[in-house]
């Protein structure tokens, strides 16, 4: 009784390997969430770096707790800030806009104000401490 069977080499089928790998690839592509962080960039001044600036080059921009804006002493609607700053920058390109917010100002109002300044292409924005 001969029960000797010859083993004819076991091979893993590789023809479907590509499909499996594709499936894995697509699974990972779909499940990874790409949430890019977006926002308004700003650079803070270094600690102890306080410069003396000519009064004529400073434009004070105040925002109170109700979200009302005072630009250089005159009240102004938030959506008009953009135009006004543009006009003032055209007059004096060394202008520094100093933003001062009340302690109780909503962050959302403050961000829209900064956004208005950014849209007016104001690069010199200074942030004063909340009072």
């Amino acid at each position: 009784m001969s029960k000797k069977r010859r083993f004819k080499g076991g091979e893993i089928p590789t023809s479907s390997m590509a499909d499996i790998a594709f499936l894995l690839l697509i699974f990972f592509l779909v499940t990874t969430t790409i949430d890019i962080d977006k926002g308004l960039g700003i650079i803070l001044p270094a600690e102890g770096e306080e410069l003396e600036i000519k009064k004529t080059n400073i434009l004070n921009c105040l925002i109170n707790s109700q979200g009302n804006v005072l630009l250089g002493g005159d009240p102004i609607a938030l959506k008009d800030v953009n135009k006004e700053i543009r006009r003032r920058l055209a007059e004096n390109n060394k202008l520094i806009i100093s933003v001062k917010a009340h302690e109780k100002t909503k962050y959302g109002d403050y961000v829209s104000l900064i956004d208005q300044l950014k849209r007016a292409n104001a690069t010199r924005i200074s942030i004063a401490d909340a009072e």
Partner: protein, 136 residues
């Protein structure tokens, strides 16, 4: 004269290395995607128009500020006086660090101002006010 030569070119695309190529792609995507590390606080971001993308996720640290005035870094609630220590070590480890402030739109400026002061103390000066794109 017989010009009737049979052209016999093997026109199959070799598929033997296909799995290797796909696996390489898979590994590439797995390595390059950064998964969200921290869940943060429940906030509603403010909206803005002139926004810019953050350069790299690897060089970003987040500070969360909720409506109620809670401050969180890396899912730990902290007090505003402790921001400087955390940010200082982060900043020392990565000089290109940008701090992204994820604050609720109705958070109070007093706290944001405190964060500014702390960040200045920690010498982490690159800041980003995280916001959504406003559609108008």
């Amino acid at each position: 004269m017989k010009l009737d030569r049979k052209v016999n070119i093997n026109s199959d695309i070799p598929t033997a290395s296909m799995p290797d190529i796909i696996f390489m792609l898979l590994i590439f995507f797995m390595v390059t995607t950064v998964l969200r590390e921290y869940s943060g606080l429940d906030i509603e971001l403010p909206k803005a128009k002139r926004i810019q993308k953050l350069k790299s996720k690897r060089h970003t640290a987040h500070i969360w500020l909720s409506k109620q005035g809670q401050i969180s870094i890396e899912d730990k609630l902290i007090r505003s006086e402790n921001i400087r220590h955390i940010m200082y070590s982060k900043r020392a480890a990565d000089p290109q660090l940008t701090v992204s402030i994820k604050a609720d739109k109705s958070a109070r400026m007093g706290l944001v101002s405190d964060i500014h002061t702390e960040l200045r103390k920690a010498d982490a000066l690159m800041l980003n006010y995280s916001s959504k794109t406003s559609i108008e």
